[in-house]
């Protein structure tokens, strides 16, 4: 027997895959001086390997935390050591399963009839609109809280009826959805619909912009494309963001900076190397003003800026600095302020 063959035999022996014959064979060769040393080495390595259990790449505490958070989406009061509510029925019994299934069938048919009856009763829709420079909070009867950013519109039913809770959004809003597993919360925007799976998230869908952005802070949401049914649904995980391009109908998932996305609720505006054109559009919405710019070549330049609750005057001043332009404010009382940027005379 070569060393090679002995190692193969020993491997089988230690991993408990050896047949009775092989076990006998192993013990036989093990007694021979030639193999005894090798057998000892193998055994000591084999014994040492069992100590390897955990490593720093996947810390167990982070794992516990993640699993607990996921379970809490479905069972908000879940604790590891808290006794769970006992189930009323034991579904492992075949007859119970069958009777439960038929009960569900009857219930399903009944709810279908009920649904059609209900559809004939009209739903009353409410609308909340914000103008430029305005924010609003909408509290829905189910406990869901929606913070509406400037120049946005939310259409929602006076009360939720039917299988799901559906609202329509134009513009940007931050959602804190009261999750009900039997009544999904659906937000319809221009091209995509977002289904809440228990969550806090931001949706930005301004008609004038080419992208729809859905940024998930906590929980889980599912995003469906309305026009492209071939496209798979995307489920976002916490701190993931989906950007949907309205022009090509495609989407991209990545990460995002929470303060940058949801800062607007606290009047924090963060721009990281964004085209000045987009910065101005965003500032127009937040401050309820219009910008006019004489030299459009500036619009393509990018800008990096953090505005924490700054006054309009400060913002305008920093824009002047960044673009090297001078500005003039026109307040015609009838409409909102217009700020004109023009080249400084030498």
């Amino acid at each position: 027997m070569t060393d090679e063959e002995f190692i193969q035999l020993a491997t089988k022996f230690f991993s408990r895959e050896a047949s009775e014959d092989e076990i006998e064979q192993y013990h036989f060769y093990n007694k021979k001086k030639k193999y005894a040393a090798l057998a000892r080495h193998i055994q000591s390595q084999w014994d040492a390997a069992v100590k390897i259990k955990h490593d720093s790449v996947f810390p167990i505490d982070r794992g516990f935390q993640l699993l607990k958070e996921k379970i809490r989406i479905y069972q908000p009061s879940f604790e590891w050591d808290k006794p769970q509510v006992e189930r009323l029925f034991d579904f492992s019994s075949k007859w119970l399963r069958i009777s439960a299934a038929s009960a569900f069938l009857v219930l399903f048919m009944a709810s279908g009839l009920f649904y059609f009856w209900y559809r004939s009763h009209e739903i009353v829709w409410n609308e909340k609109k914000t103008v430029m420079g305005e924010q609003a909070v909408v509290s829905l009867p189910d406990g869901t809280r929606i913070t509406l950013n400037a120049d946005s519109k939310l259409t929602y039913p006076a009360r939720f009826v039917g299988q799901s809770r559906e609202v329509y959004l134009q513009g940007e809003a931050y959602f804190e959805v009261q999750h009900l597993s039997d009544k999904p919360f659906v937000i319809h925007t221009e091209n995509v619909s977002t289904i809440d799976l228990g969550t806090r998230f931001d949706i930005k869908a301004y008609p004038a912009e080419k992208n729809i952005t859905i940024s998930l802070e906590q929980g889980s949401v599912k995003v469906l494309s309305k026009f492209n049914s071939a496209q798979q649904d995307i489920v976002l995980q916490p701190s993931q963001q989906m950007v949907y391009d309205k022009n090509c109908g495609k989407s991209l998932v990545g990460s995002f900076d929470s303060e940058k996305i949801t800062g607007w609720k606290n009047n924090i505006l963060i721009f990281e190397d964004e085209p000045i054109a987009e910065v101005l559009r965003s500032l127009e919405r937040s401050y309820g003003v219009s910008f006019q710019i004489a030299d459009t070549s500036v619009l393509h330049r990018s800008l990096r800026a953090h505005f924490h609750n700054e006054s309009l005057a400060t913002v305008v001043k920093s824009l002047e600095k960044a673009t090297g332009l001078a500005s003039k404010t026109i307040d015609d009382r009838s409409a909102h302020q217009t700020i004109i940027f023009f080249e400084r005379k030498p």
């Binding site: 089988k12 230690f14 390997a49 790449v57 794992g63 993640l66 489920v235 998932v253 995002f256 964004e274």
Partner: protein, 188 residues
């Protein structure tokens, strides 16, 4: 850090699973703890992302918990866990490759390149000699060795989970043992 509570060692998987079926959250925690590292490493073979590996593993345990009444396990519980983690990892992989497919189609500065630097850092101060040796093995061989030695899966179970033959598992195990025994300082 304290990792192994004595209870983990005392309870068999079957006992833990029966407790889980009776809605015992502590049993879920123990089972999770018992296989967490191995399952994450296993998931990483497919996802190549630490984040997605952790997500896949927690998804599997979430599902085990939510469907504790309905899940029928025909093989061993650990074989079920490894198979489910593999499937879930492949789901994540499909989802990501789909999402990343059209990278060029969208211009956005808002999105960072990826969730994190996806490299499984091999600790330079490996807890002991054997661990650093194991890390030198090819990823799949190392995984097979860990599945058998640390998690106690049989060759047959490993073969089924990885969709390879029992013979291949055996060869990989032998190669791993050969490597370890060669590197072991022989005492004369």
């Amino acid at each position: 850090m304290k990792y192994l509570m004595p209870e983990t060692m005392l309870c068999t998987d079957e006992e833990l699973y029966h407790r889980i079926q009776r809605s015992d959250g502590q049993a879920l925690k123990l089972l999770f703890q018992k296989y967490y590292t191995s399952l994450c490493r296993f998931a990483y073979l497919y996802t190549k992302s630490v984040h997605n590996a952790e997500e896949a593993v927690s998804d599997v345990f979430l599902n085990l918990w939510l469907r504790r009444d309905a899940i029928q396990i025909h093989t061993s519980l650990k074989a079920y866990l490894f198979t489910a983690v593999k499937n879930q990892s492949l789901n994540y992989l499909r989802r990501d490759s789909y999402a990343m497919d059209d990278l060029d189609a969208i211009h956005t500065g808002a999105i960072a390149s990826d969730l994190q630097a996806d490299c499984l850092v091999v600790s330079t101060e490996a807890k002991n000699h054997i661990e650093s040796l194991l890390n030198l093995l090819p990823a799949k061989r190392q995984m097979i060795f860990r599945m058998n030695r640390i998690d106690g899966l049989s060759y047959k179970e490993i073969a089924e989970i990885l969709s390879i033959s029992v013979h291949t598992v055996q060869n990989q195990m032998t190669a791993a043992i050969k490597f370890l025994s060669e590197k072991h300082p022989r005492r004369k």
